[in-house]
Amino acid sequence: MTGFLTLLRREIVRFLKDAIDTIAPPAVAIVLFLLVFGVGLGPRLGEVHGMPYIQFMTPGLLLLAIARNAFLNPAYSLFQSRWFGNIADFLVSPLSLEQIALAIILGGVARGIFVGALVVGAAWVLTGLVVAHPLWTLAYALAAATAFAGLGCLVGLWTRGWEGVGAIDTFVLDPLVMLGGVFYSLEMVRGIPIIEPLTALNPFTYITEGFRAVVLGGAPSHALIGFGLTMGLGVIFVGASLVLFRVGYHLKA
């Protein structure tokens, strides 16, 4: 267990020591969203589903912060270790290949939750956010962070260049989020060509709606569907990461 905990500590220390590059940019971006849409434009945007727009949007922004940070940490850490060759430090140790994968994924979960906590604090100060179901919210956040950290681990294994991680972030994660109910609900885009089907087919939409329900105290059915979907994606991404580590995909010649 010492080996596993050491590697997990390395993954956490990596993003904490490099906070200006890792934690600050996404946290600042989310705080700017809150400032612009909450403190700034908020009063002029009216209500959405019976609540101020900023209140509607905040859970989505929180989920976005958790998901993106959980994704980026393993993706960059793993690829960086492969690129510079120091992945060998772990591979020649008595750590099992699965332990290495799990420690890298949990490092991503830690970063997602850490940045999520910062965003909750900022949202409380700027918008007066009060989480309706703290334990459910924490469980949901952990599940989402695990799923996206698993995806990040897969990308960190798969990519052959630095641009690979950025490409997935820009061409997969960004569209998923922008068309995934962070800024609007599925109900709000009914009948709008292209946007409605893209939103309806996007799993992030249901994950966001579920998360909004546990943060703000909405319909339990939304929460269950979203939570189940998040758990399912987590099992797929983490499971695939473990399998690829076990076979040494892009790790062993």
Binding site: T2, S81, S93, P94, A253
Partner: protein, 246 residues
């Protein structure tokens, strides 16, 4: 007769059309200082990377202290320390001491023991003054010593060194030779790859010369010299290359 520490049985590694290691069978005894020699591309690094699990053999088997290196890799890794030829160091955010403490941790050594162990190695390898420095601040020689210290941080009984003195100046090479001789005298099994035939003659009890992935010669340096009527390994080596090319 000592028991074998490392056994290679018909090891073969093929990359596409390139046969990097070709039916290599070899035994290295416990406590032996063994040199794996050969020109660039002979298969030396592929062979040692296969022993520590970084290369998957196409066929054949590797045993370390009697255990299958592929199946029982976790136990095998506890026994083996490796210093790579490339100065690969996890130095983007860790300082010199932290690199050793973390490496010890990966091998299951708890922090209360990892710190003193790192400090002991830092003093032994003349890196104590640099303990808080980043890797980028080290000279080539200091990096080379840190790589060796890292390989020893879990006190392995088998030490694998891939070109440990590559790029080192004469003084540093002599220092490293003394360190390796001291480690050998403590009973460690040492597998060394090198281009420097003088190094092999001076340090190794036996050498194996690889050529195009195959084991071309095997024996004690003086025995090989006698058999081939040459004074030094270098002459035997040149004779071998000439005969293979003709």
């Amino acid at each position: 007769m000592r028991a074998p520490a490392i056994v290679l049985e018909h090891l073969r590694k093929i990359y596409g059309k390139l046969i990097a290691v070709d039916d290599l069978s070899l035994e290295i005894q416990k406590g032996e200082f063994f040199g794996l020699l050969g020109p660039n591309g002979a298969g030396k690094t592929t062979t040692i990377n296969a022993i520590v699990g970084l290369v998957k053999p196409t066929s054949g088997r590797i045993l370390v202290n009697g255990l299958d290196a592929a199946r029982d890799y976790r136990q095998v890794h506890r026994w083996v320390g490796i210093a790579f030829q490339e100065l690969i160091l996890d130095g983007s955010f860790l300082n010199v001491r932290e690199i050793l403490v973390y490496q010890a941790g990966y091998f299951g050594i708890p922090p209360r023991r990892a710190g003193p162990q790192a400090d002991r190695l830092l003093r032994k390898f003349g890196l104590w003054e640099k303990r808080s420095a980043k890797v980028q601040e080290l000279s080539g020689g200091q990096k080379r010593r840190l790589v060796l210290a890292k390989a020893l941080v879990h006190d392995p009984e088998i030490l694998i060194l891939d070109e440990p003195t590559a790029g080192a100046d004469v003084e540093m090479r002599l220092q490293l030779w003394e360190m390796l001789q001291e480690l050998h005298s403590q009973g460690k099994t040492i597998l060394l790859t090198t281009h420097y035939l003088e190094e092999a003659e001076r340090l190794c009890e036996r050498v194996g010369i690889l050529y195009r992935g195959r084991l071309a010669l095997l024996g004690a340096p003086e025995q090989l010299a006698r058999q081939h009527g040459q004074a030094h390994l270098e002459e035997i080596f040149l004779e071998l290359i000439r005969s293979e090319r003709s």
